[in-house]
Symmetry: D4
C-alpha cells in the first residue's frame, strides 16, 4: 500500500464507500503474509528497490524452500537464497527449479541461488580482489550484482605488494562507474584503488589471513582509517551487502 | 600529466622533438610541488574529482596557511582546511581571505574553512542525525558537501526511540538521492533509514555517548552489523569522509 | 530457616528447650543436601522465588538426572534442565518422566526440559525477535517463562529494517506488561521497542550475525548504548536469564 | 495525537467535516515543535510515561535553557536536565527557576536539575553501592527516581569483601520492591544482592577503579556473566538509565 | 652445579688440579641432557623446589614418554605429565608404569599423570569452586598439589548467588593456611573469600560460562579488579599454575 | 564480635542474662560505625589481619581526615591513606599528626600516609623493578609493606635486556622469602625472577611504556601467560595490592 | 621489464624502430601471465629478490599444482608451497616432482614444499625457540630460510624461566649474524636475546599457550613493548614472514 | 669484563696471582655503577653495539642530568636523552653541554638530545612517511640514526592514496640499503614499499588519525597482516626503536 493507495482509501471513506472501521483495519493489516516462522515482506521490493534475499544459515531446508516459494509467488522480482548448504540448496531447487547457482566459498560447500535475475543493465562495475583467497566473497558479490542486472568485471589478485599488477588493471578500475574492493590481511587495496578513481569505492574486509588479521577486524579497521577520502566500508566477508550498496548507488 | 600528455610526449620523442633523457626525466618529475614539509598534489583534483583538503591538526598555523595558499594558486577548484583551531584558521584567513567558516564542534573551537566552493548542483541530499550532540559531525559533513556544490537538507534529532519523529521526516528522507546518517550511541538510526529508502545510505558513527559507547566503536560495529542490506559506513566522527563518499556517488 | 525460625529457636534456647550447642549447630547446618558433586539448594525457591534450574553443559547424563531427581524430591516447585544434549535429556527423562521439552537451537541438538511448570498466571508478556535466527534464544526464554506460569506472546521477525512489520505488531507490544527483545546483528530493535512502550524492556543480545557482529558483543554494546532510556540488558544468548529477570519484575 | 484522535478524525472525514487534504496534512504534521536545534517531543510522556530529560553535555547554556523552558511550557510532568555543568545549570535556572539540584560527581562539577518532580508514590526501593566512590552515580539514580516520585533508600558502602556489612543491610535490601546495585571494580555486589532477593535487580557498572577495571568494562562484563539468574544491566555509570528502568518496572 | 661446586672448582684450579680450559668448559657445559627435541632440565628441582612437569599438548605420545622417562631416571622427585590425551597417557604409562591419573576435564579426555608424588606434608589447604563446571580446573589443581605433598580440601559449588552455602563452608575456608578459588562467569567468589580470611588467596579464572564470559577474560579482569585487597590471580583455567603458586607459598 | 562472643552471648541468653530481643539486636548491630558517607569497618583487622586502608581518590579532604580519625580512634593497628593528593594529605595530617609520608608517583603529587606502622618483623622480602619508571609503584608497595612491619629490600632497574644486572642481584633475590616483581612494558622480568627462586613471586604489571604497552594490559597479559610456573599477578599499578598479598603470605 | 629495458625501448622509439602504439602497449602489458584464478608474478623475484611462494589454504589441489608448475616453468629461482595439506601437497608433487617437504605443525597435517632451493650461502643464522610447542613455527621458518640458501642453527627450548639453558646457548646466539626468536606465552625470550646480541633480532609471536595467551596476541604485544631496543616483530605464527625478513637483512 | 678478561683472570688464578676469593668477588662485582635510582650499564655498548639512551619521561630533570653525565664520563660512545621536556633538556644541557637537539613532536614540547654522535658511515638509508603528521616520529628516528652515524634520507608525505607521489620517490626508496616506513591511519604504505624493494623494511605504526585508528592499534595490526612478505614492525610511535633495529641491520 503506497501513499496513493492511502489517499484513495481516504477519499473513498470521505465518499462513504468505505467505513471507518474498514479503513482502520486496512491500515493495521500491513501487506505481508505470515508463514509462521518468518514474516515475508512482499513490499520491500517497492520500498527499497531490492531483490528479496533469504539468509539460509539457521533455517531448515524446508523453511528455505517454503520462504523462497512464497516470495516467488507473491512478487515478480529477483529472489536470492544466500549461503545455502547443499541440503538447503537442493530443497529450494526441488520446490523452485530454475535458479542460478554460485559457489561462495573455496570448497563449494555454500552457494548463492538466484531466481529471476534482473536483465543486464549495461552499467560498468568492477570487483577488485587482493588475493585468490578473497574470491569466495567476491563471487557472492558478483552473484548478487547479477541478480540486480549488474554484470561486473572481476579484477582478481591485485594485492598492493605487487603494485604493477594493480597498475596494469588501472584502466579497468578507472573506467568503472563504481568499484567494490575485496581484501583481507591489511586491506590496503581499498586506499590505493580510491586514490586511482573518483567513482564510489565500496570496501569489503575479508577474514582472509591468520594471526594478526584477527578474522577480518584488522582489515575492517584499516579500511575505516584509510588515508583516501570517501572510502565506504561494509561488514566483514559481506559480499552480499557490498552488492546491495552498489545497487543503491546505481539505481 | 594524463595519458594524452604521455602519448603526445612519446610521439614527440618518436619525431625527434624530445630526447630520451628528457622523456625519462619528465616521467620521473611528477607534477607536484614540494614545500619542504608536505607534498602538495595539484593533480588529485583531476584524478579523483575531489576538492583539495588540508587536515589541520598537527600542523603549525604557518604550515596551514602556506599549503592552502599553494593549493589556491596552483588550481582552480575548491580548497578546504579541516578541523582548524583558531590560530590555524586565522593564519590561513590572513594569507588567503574569502573562506567560508563552519563550526565543527559544540564549543566552536574547531572550524572548517572553504575557499572557492563549487556552484550548487541542484541534487537532493539529506543528512539525518540521531541527536543534538551529533550536530558537529553533521556540520562538517554539510560544509564539505557545500564545497562540492551539494546543498544538503539537515534532518536533525531523529533518534529511533522516538520513531514518530523519524516517520514525520520520512518524506524528506525518501525523496533524497542519497542519505548520510550521523548517529552515536547504538547507531540504530542507520538501519531504520536504510529500511525506508532504496537510495545510498552512508552511515557515520559518532563518539557521542558515554560508558558503553566506547567512543564510537559501538556505533561503528552496530552499523556494520546492520540488518538492513546495503548500508555503508565511514570512520568514527568522519563527517568529512562521508561527504567525500557521497560526492563520489553523485559525480 | 527464616527469621521467624531463628527467633523461635532463640526463644526455645532462652527457655532451656534447646542447648547452646544445638543452636550453634543448627545455624551451621544450612538446609542443603550434598550430592558430592553439586550442592543442591532447596531453599533458593523461598529466597529468590525462582524455579530450580540445572545447567547441563559440563555435567554427565547421570549427574543431570541425579540433580534433577533430588530437586524434584526435595521441593514442590518447577524444575528446569537447561541446554541439555540428547544424552542428558534422555537420562533425566528416564529417571524423572513427565517433562516438557523445548528445542533451544536451530538443529534441535539442545533442549530445555521443564518439570512441574507453575500454573498460568494470566499476565500479558511479549517476546519480540528481530529475525528467524533469533528464535532459539526466544524459545529458551519462552520455555523458561512457561515454567514460571507466564505465557508470553511471540512476535517474531520484526527487524528494524522493515519498520512497517514492527508497527503492525505495535499493539501487541504496547499491550504487554513487560517485553523481552531478542536481537542479534546491531540489536537496534531494543531501542525502537523501548520507544513504543513504557513497560519494562529486557534486551537479549544474540550471537546471530557474522563478521562484525563479533558473536553478540556488538549487539550487547549497542543495547547498552541505547538512546531509549530504561532499556536493561542480559548476557549474550541468555534467554533463560531474560525470563528470570522478567519473572522478578512480575512477581 | 493518539488512536482515539485518529479515529475521531477519520470519522469527521467520513462525515464530510474534514477534507481529505486536511486529514493527510494532519497525519503528516506530527505533534512536536521545532526549536531549530532539537525537536522537542511533547508526546513522549504519553507514549512512554517518562519525564522529559535533557542531556546537557554538548549543548550550549542557552540551548539547555531554551529546551527546558519549551518542555515546561508544553507539558505538565517532570523535566530533568542531566549532567549539567555550572554554566548550563545557571542558564536553565535563570530562565526556569524552581529546580531541585543534585550533585552527580565527587567534585560538584556536574549536576542534575529537576523541575516538577512527581509526588511521592510510597514504593519501597533500595539503591545499594559497593563503595564511597560509586556515590555520584547513585546520586544521579536517586535524583532521577525522585523525579518519578520514587523515594529510594540509599544503602552505601556494601562491598562484597566485607560481607557482614551487606548482611547487616540485608533486611533493607530484601524488603525493597526493586533494587539498583551500583558497583565498579569487579561488580560482584550485583550477584550477591540478586542471591538475597527475588525482586528485580538492576545493576549499574561504574568506572570506579583503576588499571584492570578498564573504566567500567570489567564490571559491565562481570555483571552480565553473573551466576545469579535474572540480573539485568544498564550502561556504565548510567544511574539515570537505571532509574528509568526501575520506573518502568514500578509503573 | 651450585655455588659451592663453583667455588670448589675454582679452588682446584688454583691448586693446579684443574686446567683453565677444563674450568671454562665446565662452566659452559650446563647440567642438562639433550634429547633432541626438548632440553630436559635436571636442576630445576634444586633451583625452584618444584616437581618436573611436562606439558603434553603439541607433543607426540613418543615424545611425552621419552621426556617423562628421562626425568624419572635423572632425578628423584615428583614428575607430572599435564593435559595428556589418551594416546599420550598410554604411551607414558607403558614406558613408565605407576602413575596416578586425574581427569582434568568433564569428559575424561584429558588427564594429569603423577609419578613419585611427595609424601603428605600435613598442611591445611582449601580449593573452593563456584560451580560444578569449574571442577576440572579444580581437579588439575588438586592433582598437582598432591604431587607436592599437599592434600587439599575441595569445597565445591559455593557460588556467591547462594551466600548461605559459602557461609556454611566458612569454617573450612578460614581454617586453611592458603586458599585457591576457582571460578568462571563473573569470578566474584574470589572477592568474597578474600573478605573472609587473612590467608593467601590465589584466584583461578575459568572459561566456564558463555556469551559475556568471553572464555574467562571477564573473570580474569574481575578478579584483578577485586575490591578485596591482596587477591592474586593466575591465568585462565590454570589450575596447575595455582597449585605451583600455592606450593611456593607453603615451602 | 567473633565466634566466642557469639557463643558467650548465646550462653548468657540460655542463662536468662540476656533477652531474646537483645540478642537479636546485637546480631543485627554489626560492629561498624556509620559516618554517613562511608561505613568504617573496625573489625576488618581481626577478620583479615590487615591494616585499615582508606583510598583517597574521589573523597574530599574532610572525608579523608574524618575516616582516618575514626579508624585511629576505633582500633590500635596500622592505618593507611593511599593515593592522597596534597590537599587530602594535609587535611588528614592536620587532624591526625604523626604519619609517615611516601611519594608514590614521579612528580610527588600523590602520597601514601601511614599511621602506627607495625614493628619490623625481620622477614626477608625483595621488591624488584624493571626500570626507573616503575619506582612509584614499587614505593607504594614498600610503604604498605612497612605498615605491615615488613622491611623489604629494593632491587631496582633489573630489566631483562641487561641480564647481567639481574644476575648480579640474584643473591638478593634468591635469599628473599618472597619477591614482588614490578615491571611495565613486556613484563618479562616476572618470568625470569620466577625461574631463579622457589619462593612466592607476586608480579605487578605497571602502566609504564607507551604505544603497544596499552597502559599495562600488555604486561598483565604477559605475566599471566608466563612460562614460569607459579607466578601470581595483581592488578595494574597495584603496588598496594601486592603488599597486601605478600602480607597474607608472610602472616 | 626493468629500467634499462624501458630506456632501451624509448631509444628504439626515438630511432623509429618502434611505433608509439607498440611502446604504449608494451608498457601496458605487464609481464605476468594470467591463469584465470591467480595472476602469477614472474618478476617479483627480480623486484624483491625473493622466492615465489604460493599460500595453499583456500586453494584447490589443482590450483596449487597449476600455479607451482607455472612458476617453475617461468622462472629459475626457488618456489615454495606453504601450509599445504596432504591433498594439496600430493597434487603439487605429482605434477612437479622433486620438492623438499617440511612438516610445519605438530601433527604433520600441514607441510612446506620447496622446489629449487638456493645453494647454501654460508651465513650464520640462529632460530631460537622458547618451548617444544613452538617448533612447528620454527620449522616453517627454517624451511623457508633453506629455500633462500640460508642454513640456520636451531636452538630449541630456551624459555626464560630456565635462564641457564639460554646462557648455555649464548655463544651460538651471539655468533649469529641475525637471530629469529620464536616464542608464545609471554614472549619474553625476545627481550632477553636482544640483550645478548647486537645483531638483528626478529621476533615471531606464536599462538602457543592457552587462556591468557589470547592465541598469540599477548606475545605479539609483549614483543612490541620489549624493553630491549631494536627488536622487530612479524605476525603471529608467521615463521615464513620471519624468514623473508631475515633474507632481506642478509641479501 | 668480556670472555678474554675472564679467561685471563682464571689464568692468573691458576698461576696463584689471584686468590679464589678475589675471583669470586670479581665475578660478582659486575661492571656497572650505582647512582641509587638507576643502574648505569657501561658495558651495554660492548655487548649490544648501541649508544646509551636515557628515556626521560618519569625522571626528574636532576636525574636526567646525572645519568647522562655518568654515561658520558664512563664511556666514549654516543649518548641520547629521549623524549625530554624542556626542563629535562635544560638540566641535561646545563650539566653536559654540546648536545644536538631534535624536536620530536609537532609542538616542540619534546626533544631528543644527542651527545657524541658517531661519525657518518656513508650507508644509504631512507625514512618514508605517509603524511605530514607522521613527521615527529620520523624525526625521532632520524635523530637516533644520526647518533649511530647513519644519515638517512627523509621521503615525506607519500601516502598510498596518491600513488604517483610514492612512485616518484621510488628511486630513492629502492636505492636504500634499508627503509623505515612511518605511517598511521591504515598503515598501508608499509605493504606498498615492501613490494618495491628487496631491502629490509622496518614499519613504524603511528598514532596519527582519529576514530577508527584506535591510537595506532589499527596501523600496527595492519602492518603485521601485511600481504608483502618480510615486513617487520616495531611498537606504536617508536621511531627510536626503528632506528635501533635499523642499526642492528647495518652493523
Amino acid at each position: 500500500m503506497d501513499r496513493d493507495d492511502l489517499r484513495s482509501m481516504l477519499e473513498r471513506l470521505s465518499l462513504g464507500e468505505l467505513a471507518v472501521d474498514e479503513v482502520a483495519e486496512a491500515v493495521a493489516r500491513l501487506p505481508y503474509s505470515d508463514l509462521g516462522f518468518a514474516r515475508v515482506d512482499h513490499h520491500r521490493h517497492v520500498r527499497q528497490g531490492m531483490p528479496e534475499a533469504v539468509y539460509a544459515p539457521g533455517k531448515s531446508p524446508e523453511q528455505c524452500a517454503a520462504i523462497v516459494a512464497e516470495l516467488l509467488q507473491a512478487g515478480t522480482g529477483p529472489v536470492l537464497l544466500t549461503r545455502a548448504n547443499h541440503a538447503q540448496a537442493r530443497a529450494a531447487l526441488d520446490r523452485c527449479p530454475g535458479a542460478t547457482l554460485t559457489d561462495v566459498d573455496a570448497t563449494g560447500t555454500l552457494q548463492l541461488l538466484t531466481w529471476r535475475a534482473a536483465p543486464h543493465r549495461g552499467r560498468r562495475v568492477a570487483v577488485v580482489t587482493a588475493g585468490t583467497a578473497d574470491l569466495p566473497v567476491a563471487r557472492e558479490c558478483l552473484g548478487t550484482l547479477a541478480a540486480y542486472g549488474l554484470d561486473a568485471a572481476l579484477v582478481a589478485d591485485c594485492g598492493v605488494a605487487g603494485l604493477h599488477r594493480l597498475l596494469a588493471a588501472a584502466d579497468e578500475v578507472t573506467a568503472a562507474e563504481a568499484v567494490v574492493v575485496v581484501a583481507g590481511m591489511e586491506g590496503a587495496l581499498a586506499s590505493v584503488v580510491a586514490g586511482l578513481t573518483a567513482a564510489p569505492v565500496i570496501a569489503v574486509p575479508t577474514s582472509v589471513g591468520y594471526g594478526s588479521s584477527l578474522e577480518g577486524i584488522t582489515a575492517l579497521l584499516a579500511m575505516h582509517a584509510s588515508c583516501a577520502p570517501g572510502v565506504v566500508v561494509v561488514g566483514i566477508d559481506n559480499g552480499y551487502g557490498a552488492a546491495c550498496a552498489l545497487a543503491r548507488v546505481l539505481r
